[in-house]
Each structure stands twice: as structure tokens, then as C-alpha cells.
């Protein structure tokens, strides 16, 4: 009897593990960058599409549920930060980046944070309620800008769960160096 219960418990554990693993889909971006490959963990229930672009990458992520926001992940090389990492930016360079990002915001607030994998990310949020609500996460990796933009279709206010999804996507973006 005890053996049967144990077997059942093990079977149930394996089943739930398999289900959990299956919930997060991983998508490898189609690109021809020499420097790295990029894999993105797509949140459960989300749809996604890589849009063809000339020399840079664009990945759209959205949900059927209109209450959830949509996301745009762009990856693009920049001569201005060639080979650089946001984590290594001087304070002057960080201030400059903040100034650049702020140009298309009305009343932005900024926050630098570190992902579990050690990358520094700049989060910028719009606080002017008359200007709609949107948020942007930016990091620089090997001279490439990684930009994750989040908004509702009508730019209605973003909830904390929406920002949590932003964190989930940026922290679920895995970069594998391929340059020798």
C-alpha cells in the first residue's frame, strides 16, 4: 500500500514538473549577429512574432486578453556604445543615457536595477497622467541596445502586474556569446 502511494506521489510530481517546464516557451531570435545568440522566454499564454528588420531585431509579444499590455523587444547595434556594457558605464554615460531616453517622455522617472544574471537595466516610466502610460527598459550589451517597451494599446495606466511581466521578459532574455 505504501509503495503504491509513493509511486503515485512520484508520478504526480513528475507530471507537475513537466507541466511547469512546458508553460514557458523559449524562442531563439533569428539573427546574423556574430557576437551572440538571443533566446527569449515567452510568458505563459503570450503570442509572439519576430518582425523582419534591416540590420536589427524586433520581437513583438502580446496576449489575447486585452487587459494585458503588449511588449516590443528591439535589439540594435550602436556605434555610440560600441562594445560596451551598461554595467560598465561611467556616471556621465549613465546620465547621458537617461537624458536620451527622457527625450520622448513628458515627466519620466528612472531606476537602474540589476538582473539575476548580472546585467544592469534602466527602467523609465511615464508619470504624466495626461501623456498616457508606457514604460521602457534599456540595457547595453556588447555595444547593442536591448530595448523592451511596454504599453496597453490605448496607453491606459500600467499595473504592477504589467511591470512584473516586463521584468519577467527582460530577465528571461538569455544572451549566449558566440564571438571567439
Amino acid at each position: 500500500m505504501l509503495q503504491k502511494i509513493l509511486s503515485l506521489l512520484i508520478a504526480l510530481t513528475l507530471l507537475f514538473s513537466a507541466t511547469a517546464l512546458a508553460a514557458t516557451e523559449k524562442y531563439t531570435l533569428e539573427e546574423d549577429f556574430q557576437q551572440f545568440d538571443v533566446e527569449v522566454e515567452i510568458p505563459e499564454g503570450a503570442q509572439y512574432k519576430q518582425n523582419p528588420k534591416d540590420g536589427w531585431l524586433s520581437l513583438e509579444i502580446w496576449f489575447e486578453d486585452p487587459a494585458k499590455p503588449s511588449f516590443d523587444l528591439n535589439i540594435s547595434f550602436s556605434e555610440e556604445v560600441e562594445g560596451g556594457f551598461l554595467a560598465d558605464f561611467s556616471q556621465e554615460d549613465k546620465d547621458h543615457l537617461v537624458a536620451l531616453i527622457s527625450e520622448d517622455f513628458s515627466v519620466p522617472v528612472h531606476e537602474f536595477f540589476e538582473t539575476p544574471s548580472g546585467n544592469t537595466v534602466l527602467l523609465t516610466r511615464e508619470t504624466d497622467t495626461e501623456a498616457g502610460d508606457y514604460a521602457l527598459m534599456v540595457t547595453v550589451y556588447k555595444g547593442f541596445f536591448f530595448s523592451l517597451y511596454c504599453s496597453h494599446q490605448d496607453y491606459s495606466p500600467l499595473a504592477e502586474e504589467d511591470l512584473a511581466l516586463m521584468h519577467q521578459i527582460i530577465e528571461g532574455t538569455w544572451i549566449t556569446d558566440t564571438e571567439k
Binding site: Q34, K53, D54, G55, W56, L57, S58, D72, N74, I75, S76, F77, S78, E79, E80, E82, E92, D93, D95, H96, L97, V98, A99, L100, I101, S102, E103, D104, F105, S106, V107, P108, V109, H110, T127, D128, E130, A131, G132, Y134, L136, V138, F144, F145, F146, S147, Y149, S151, Y155
Partner: protein, 212 residues
Amino acid sequence: MNKRLISLALATLLILASIPVAALGSLGETWHAYVYTSNGKGLNLRQTPSTDLKPIATIPYGAKVTLHDYINKTWVEVEYGQYRGYVMGRYLTYDKPGPKPTTKPAPNPTPKPSPDYQTSLKQIFSGFTFTHYEVQVRPSTSGGFVHMRWAPTKASDPIRDYHQNDVLTVIAQNKTWAQVVDPNTGITGFMMRAFLTEIGVGGANSGDGSGS
């Protein structure tokens, strides 16, 4: 035979005479642009239109280059001094840039006063003149986003977002803002001119309000 030759010569002369001088001039005309980077750094000149190989030279901020060919939406073939190679087009501007930009920390957000509605409408829509030219969107950071807004003010809701190299048509502008039309959807709105680069001759930030 001679009559035929004379007729042919006359016809050729007539055809050449009808071609506008400007067009003839453009056959030998040289176009220039200037290097502009938001942080004042020099621009890499590359051997091929890609980042696969190391740069062959660095062109200083504000330097003038000779344009040879637009390879695609990203790369332009240029000549600088003894060097000929490729640069990313987003770092070129037709207007000579000012001094190297200096970094100023972004100010802390402060609550906005509530302006008189009629006064503020008059202010934000002032100075617009009609024009018509095509532009490419150029976000402040590579791969970034730019908002098209309902009104020419950052305090206005966005209509939708645009990516680098998206093409729009400018139909009116003042010093800071452009009224733009998306040729794919017909949607019209306002975008800051700082994020727009005119396609072809001239520059989106030419101060006289004309597109050429």
C-alpha cells in the same frame, strides 16, 4: 544621309536643351553630410556595410564626409579623407552640427501647473507651416521607439509607436514638432522633429521650415 545626320544632331541638341540645368548639374554633383553622435564620440568607418570587421578609421564628431551610395536603410558608403568605406546612416546629418553635446543630468520630475486651456492650445499649435517631404524615424537610441502623439506636446497621449527607419510624410511643422502622416495607414499625428531625418536632400531639422 547628311540631312539625316543634321536632323539627328539638331534633335539631340533640342533634347539636351530641354533638360533642366539642375538635373545636368546633379549628374556631377557631390553630396555631403556631417557626423553627429549624441555623445560626441567619433564614428566608425567600416570596410564593409556590417559590424563584422573592425573599423578602418574613426571619423571625428562634426566632420564632413562625401556621400557615395545608400546601401540600405542602415548603411551608407562615404568618403573621408583618404578613406572610403561604410558608416551607419543614423549618425549622419545634412546640417552641420553644433559643438559636441555635453551631458546634462535629467531634471527631477516636477508637478506641472495647470495652464489656461485656450492659451495652451494656442501655444502648442503656434508657428506651424505647411510642407511636404518624407522622413525616416530615428529614435534617440539605436533600436528605440518614438511616439506619434495627438498634439504637438509630450503631455499628449500617444497614438502609436514607431521604430527606427519607419517612413512617414511631414505635412506641417514648426521649430520643434512635425505633423506627420503614416503612408501605410493614413494615421496622422505629431512627432518631435529631433526624431526625424529627411530622406534624400536636406535635413528634417533645417531651420527654415521647408522640406528641401
